[in-house]
């Protein structure tokens, strides 16, 4: 286990922790867009307002976690970043369009005319972008996990042909199962968080029901991904089912999922929020644990891909110092907008 505490592994760990924060925070913002899309019934306007109010003050800060992931990846593992950028050019491009349209449309809706048709038009773009982006994010992760992004590629690309180089690596059943899992997890997180933020039982019940549905979809999609992995990503399948971590990981997913479902049923929404976050976290960590010590399986390890220690050490120090600045600021943001006393303020 001594190779766990090397600089490259620690920084890879920081990247996954940042991705984890992105999933739990920005993921829920995307999930909010999903529920904006599926807003139905007589309370649909109030559902949409609750979502917009929940996302408004925090989505930009939540989005920065992704920037941190990208920056740390190209700083600490530049070759792997280059390989990912080349092979996954097309899905990453789609994801970027989704990110741009989601953020822009949400902001435009807030500041454009409050007339219904204008609001609906921006809302539609915001919602569709929120649906597409998480799927594509999952597809990209799926391609890496399946070992379809190769390190040494400069020469191989010209000869292999366009489809083999730029399309087939990510176009797999496994990848799309991961994409749907990602989307459903984001939707589940959003629905559970919104049960906490809703101020009346009707809205709470709306999102409680949605949380149950999303959890069901997420677990089925994750199971499907596991089955498809035997065909499309045998290495990840072995890693998930055979390593030392297999049993604790599956237990963690099962228990947190059960905890979430039961808490929702009993209307203990704060407990459900913890459960949903734990469930998403356990599923996410399955990925790096299953492919450890590889960064781009099957042939580029974390150690191989790492930048020199003269880069990694100052970056790690910067992260430590930056965290001292960042974490209190984030705590302040969430205390102002997300603590129950702040939300309970009557108008």
């Amino acid at each position: 286990m001594s190779d766990l505490f090397t600089l490259p592994v620690m920084l890879a760990g920081v990247i996954i922790v940042s991705l984890n924060a992105y999933v739990l925070l920005a993921g829920a913002d995307f999930g909010g867009g999903v529920w904006d899309f599926f807003a139905t019934g007589e309370r649909r306007v109030r559902q949409r307002t609750l979502i917009a109010d929940a996302i408004g003050p925090v989505w930009e800060a939540n989005h920065v976690w992704l920037i941190l992931v990208v920056v740390l990846l190209f700083t600490c593992f530049p070759g792997a970043f280059a390989a990912i950028s080349v092979t996954l050019h097309i899905p990453l491009l789609v994801m970027l369009v989704g990110i741009v349209m989601r953020g822009a449309a949400f902001t435009f809706r807030t500041y454009d005319s409050q007339r219904d048709e204008v609001q609906r038009r921006w809302g539609r773009i915001f919602a569709i972008a929120s649906l597409v982006t998480p799927i594509v994010l999952g597809v990209c992760v799926g391609a890496i996990a399946a070992g379809r992004v190769h390190g040494e590629n400069a020469a191989g690309f010209a000869s292999a042909g366009f489809l083999a180089s730029y399309v087939t690596p990510w176009l797999t059943g496994f990848g799309f199962a991961i994409g749907v899992t990602t989307l459903a997890l984001f939707a589940q997180l959003a629905a559970v968080y919104l049960t906490v933020e809703a101020r009346d039982t009707d809205l709470q019940d709306d999102f409680r029901r949605r949380a149950h549905i999303a959890q069901g979809v997420a677990l089925v999609a994750a199971g499907l991904a596991l089955i498809l992995a035997r065909r499309d990503a045998p290495n990840i399948s072995r890693g998930l089912l055979e390593g030392w971590h297999a049993v604790p990981l599956l237990l963690a997913v099962a228990l947190s999922a059960l905890w979430t479902a039961l808490s929702l049923r009993q209307r203990t929404f704060h407990a459900a929020r913890i459960g949903a976050a734990a469930q998403a976290t356990a599923i996410l960590w399955g990925w790096p644990l299953a492919q450890f010590p590889w960064l781009l399986p099957p042939d580029v390890s974390i150690a191989d891909a790492a930048a020199p220690a003269t880069t990694l050490r100052p970056v790690l120090i910067t992260l430590g110092v930056g965290a001292l600045l960042l974490l209190p600021s984030l705590a302040y943001l969430f205390r102002v907008f997300k603590s129950s006393t702040a939300v309970a303020k009557p108008s």
Partner: protein, 466 residues
């Protein structure tokens, strides 16, 4: 269109788009904070209205700036993977620091926009200050990464690979200070004068309107000093370019032959084939004087470099002339405004000055675009000056013209919408009822949030549910 040209065009278009939002995101919070501070100090409700409108503008522009910045951070890899593979480890440091600055900016902007009625006045003002400071810091960090591409340091080159990497020294490369200073001042000058020009235009139509008078005062307070300092920082930048990127300087000045006591070439169109510049004005020895502070210093011409290593001379020369010309004009108009204030006259009654401010309003942004053309096109054919060629850095993926077309359309659409929203939200003059001046007593600040103005989510401050 070749893939290399498509990649360069996409990068240029993405940067040209993002930089507008980035500079406004740096400077606008300063205007907003000054307006809020004056409202808190003087109790003049017009300043509150001003702070809120500028905050809304900042919110729209910051959001587009944040997402277009995200696009850029991915495009570094999508378009230039070999560059990132080569240089990621060495320029990652400023990007990591920028990540934290951007985080701080996003957090406190959320607090500022949605926290009007949730936190104490002092905390609210402080949140605005945090946005302004971290916005400037983000810009500075990113510019140091660009400066490294112009004057790469902090490594040893062994067999074409960078070894003994020192990211701190790379970040503190010789270009960092001149470029960061020039860009930060440019952000304040361009944004300040753009806002001043808008309100000058509205004052010409509605003289004495109290809202626009106050807006003009604050905008000039930020824009004018920066515009006046720009020539000084330009001089620092020019001397840096002369020393570290002689080929770029030669292209900027279309100096084809190495010359002692080189003249300053103003205007004109370079003709690369005949190695001359037509229709230009030459000031003897002025280039040597400006570049090295010595009238007889030798300035390297393009003849010192193989022609395959020349940047596109015509583009760089014209962009440089444009930047300097517009910057000079902005500095003169700013000095004029200072002189009026010095004489203790009312800026809003000087119609000639107001007209001049309207004319220069868009020029700062044009000058910034021209300046980046000088920096980026002037570095060609290198992506890392003297070390990595742009052509060697581009992605092997074919068909790059399609992503270029896609993002061009996307950004044109966004630009149109942002323009319309700003016009709708910020520009139109508030009516007397909106400002509550004269006829009605001023209401306490909280009830400002529930006036008959069109209510937006931003205004309601996310009062959660109903």
């Amino acid at each position: 269109m070749s893939d290399l040209l498509a990649a360069r065009s996409q990068m240029a278009m993405s940067l040209a788009f993002h930089i507008i939002f980035a500079v406004i995101g740096i400077a606008m919070p300063v205007l907003m904070v000054i307006a809020e501070w004056r409202w808190r100090r003087r109790g003049d409700a017009i300043y509150l209205e001003l702070a809120k409108r500028w905050a809304k503008g900042t919110a729209i522009l910051f959001a587009v700036g944040a997402v277009s910045g995200t696009v850029l951070s991915f495009e570094l890899g999508l378009l230039w993977p070999r560059f990132m593979e080569y240089a990621g480890a060495i320029i990652g440091m400023p990007f990591s620091l920028e990540g934290f600055a951007f985080f701080t900016e996003a957090i406190f902007l959320g607090v500022y926009l949605y926290g009007w009625d949730r936190i104490s006045p002092r905390a609210h003002l402080l949140a605005g200050v945090m946005v302004a400071v971290s916005g400037a810091a983000s810009g500075i960090f990113v510019v140091t990464a660009n400066a490294w591409m112009n004057s790469p340091t902090g490594f040893d080159l062994v067999d074409g690979r960078m070894v003994n990497i020192d990211p701190i020294r790379a970040m503190l490369n010789p270009g960092s200070f001149p470029q960061a200073l020039h860009m930060t001042l440019a952000a304040y000058a361009a944004t300040g004068l753009a806002v001043a020009g808008i309100h000058a235009f509205l004052l010409l139509r509605r003289p004495n309107h109290p809202f626009h008078r106050r807006a003009l005062g604050i905008a000039l307070m930020v824009g004018a000093p920066a515009a006046i300092l720009m020539p000084v920082s330009g001089d620092i930048s020019a001397r840096y370019v002369a020393r570290w990127q002689p080929a770029k300087l030669a292209a900027m000045e279309s100096l084809f032959e190495t010359t002692r006591g080189a003249p300053l070439v103003i205007g004109g169109i370079p003709d690369v084939a005949s190695r001359t510049t037509r229709w230009s004005i030459e000031i003897p020895k002025a280039l040597s004087l400006l570049a090295f502070h010595d009238a007889n210093a030798e300035v390297k011409g393009l003849d010192q470099f193989a022609e395959t290593d020349w940047p596109p001379v015509t583009i760089v020369h014209i962009a440089f002339q444009l930047m300097v010309g517009l910057g000079t004009l902005m500095a003169f108009v700013s000095l004029w405004a200072f002189w009026i204030r010095w004489r203790r006259r009312d800026l809003s009654k000087e119609r000639a000055l107001l007209r001049a401010l309207v004319v220069v309003a868009p020029l700062g942004m044009v000058a910034i675009e021209a300046g980046w053309v000088v920096t980026e096109v002037g570095r060609q054919p290198w992506i890392v000056y003297g070390i990595v060629r742009t052509a060697d850095a581009v992605t092997p993926m074919p068909g790059l013209v399609y992503p270029f077309a896609l993002f061009t359309l996307l950004y044109l659409f966004l630009a149109g919408v942002v323009g319309w929203l700003l016009y709708r939200q910020i520009v139109h003059s508030p009516s007397p009822t909106e400002l509550r001046v004269g006829t009605q007593p001023l209401r306490p600040p909280d009830s400002w949030l529930t006036t008959d103005e069109p209510i937006t989510r931003g205004d309601r401050g996310g009062t959660s549910g109903q």
